[in-house]
């Protein structure tokens, strides 16, 4: 199996995630797009692990998963606390530090 196919799939997934992050206003959906980008990076890491015949890539993917889990926990807690105070999960509404 040509590893290029996996890498192209990974690149496309990453792009879709990045575009989604710029397009969506809902904080939760924007967060999901970040997860999509992290997953795409993981796919690239695992593919490179196979290309080079070493397991380091898989270890990195594992660490990315751990960091993603921690990031999701804190991020969703922030979304919840913003929603509690402002009654909205839109990223446009949290602009108090702007002025």
């Amino acid at each position: 199996m040509n590893p290029d196919n996996y890498l192209i799939l990974s690149a496309l997934l990453f792009t879709i995630g990045a575009v989604g992050f710029t397009l969506r206003r809902n904080a939760i959906v924007a967060f999901m797009c970040v997860e999509l980008m992290l997953n795409a990076a993981n796919l690239a890491l695992v593919t490179f692990s196979k290309v080079h015949g070493r397991l380091d890539g898989q270890v990195f993917a594992f660490f990315v998963m751990v960091v993603a889990a921690a990031e999701v926990v804190v991020g969703l807690a922030i979304i919840i606390s913003i929603f509690r105070t402002r009654r909205s999960a839109s990223v446009d509404d949290a602009n108090l530090l702007k002025y």
Binding site: D4, Y6, L23, C33, T47, F63, M65
Partner: protein, 275 residues
């Protein structure tokens, strides 16, 4: 013998389009719940790709951590924040959407061209690396607990910090003292004394000859429906059945009976309503 199509090939070409469509679904879905479900599809397909890429440990971890834990967390937050909360379609920055799509396409083209130039050598494969320690999981353990042991320890600190941070952020300080049973009782009696609000429980929904669900209002002694006997939520949704519709068939039946048998007087309608 050279196999032309391997299992990994089949898995890739069957699942890659599904993954791309589901990823587009994450971006384009109006409701956050649909986006989360599309993300689940992407993650499960990705787990299968890991299995095809000789990473059985990551296959299991992907399903357990991502699909099991992270997506459930997303769904819980969607539940808390509101399922039907949809995105605003107003553009804050003018032309942002078109620019984002153009930039995305350019970025994808750049990445794909770069990949086409970067990877030329055939893949080495993981048989050697996996067999060094006697398996994929053992090989990963050998790396994590040897070369990357400090990174591994730091991730444990990260996880603890994240758990604490989530608790601190989601915690809400109670500003007033909790009301006791006695306080609640005193409040209820005060409401009765001032506004005449009945201190006892609310009346139950009505029981009619043909209908006794929670959307049927009970009838007061004067025949009017009691507003408090049905849930305010149902009333707001307009799902309460009008009491007249329920008494009408009974009344017609009674009229038919009494007209056939004029000697006997009709029994009271209220008895049929069975309050």
């Amino acid at each position: 013998m050279i196999t032309l199509v391997t299992g990994a090939d089949v898995a890739f070409w069957m699942l890659a389009p599904v993954m791309l469509l589901a990823a587009l679904g994450v971006v384009l879905a109006r409701k956050p719940v649909h986006a989360a479900l599309c993300l689940a599809v992407v993650m499960i397909c990705l787990a299968v790709q890991y299995a095809a890429l000789d990473a059985p440990f990551l296959f299991a971890v992907q399903i357990i951590v991502y699909t099991g834990a992270i997506l459930m967390l997303f769904l819980f937050v969607v539940m808390l924040v509101g399922v039907d909360m949809s995105d605003s379609v107003v553009e804050t920055i003018k032309g942002q959407r078109a620019l984002a799509v153009v930039a995305g396409i350019a970025f994808a083209a750049l990445l794909i061209v770069a990949i086409g130039n970067a990877v030329t050598a055939p893949p080495v494969g993981l048989e050697q690396a996996n067999n060094d320690f006697g398996g994929n999981v053992q090989g990963l353990a050998g790396l994590i607990f040897h070369r990357y042991v400090f990174a591994f320890e730091f991730t444990s600190g990260l996880l603890i910090t994240a758990a604490l941070g989530a608790m601190v952020l989601a915690h809400r300080e109670r500003l007033t003292a909790r009301k006791t049973q006695r306080d609640l009782l005193a409040e209820r009696m005060q409401r009765y004394a001032k506004d005449g609000i009945h201190p006892g429980p609310l009346p139950t929904p009505g029981v009619f000859a043909r209908h006794n669900a929670v959307d049927t209002p009970a009838l007061l002694p004067d025949g009017t429906p009691a507003e408090t006997s049905v849930s305010a939520t149902l009333a707001a949704r307009g799902q309460v059945i009008a009491a007249d519709d329920l008494t009408l068939p009974t009344q017609e039946k009674l009229r038919a009976i009494t007209s056939n048998d004029p000697g006997e007087s009709a029994p009271g309608l209220k008895k049929e309503d069975g309050q």
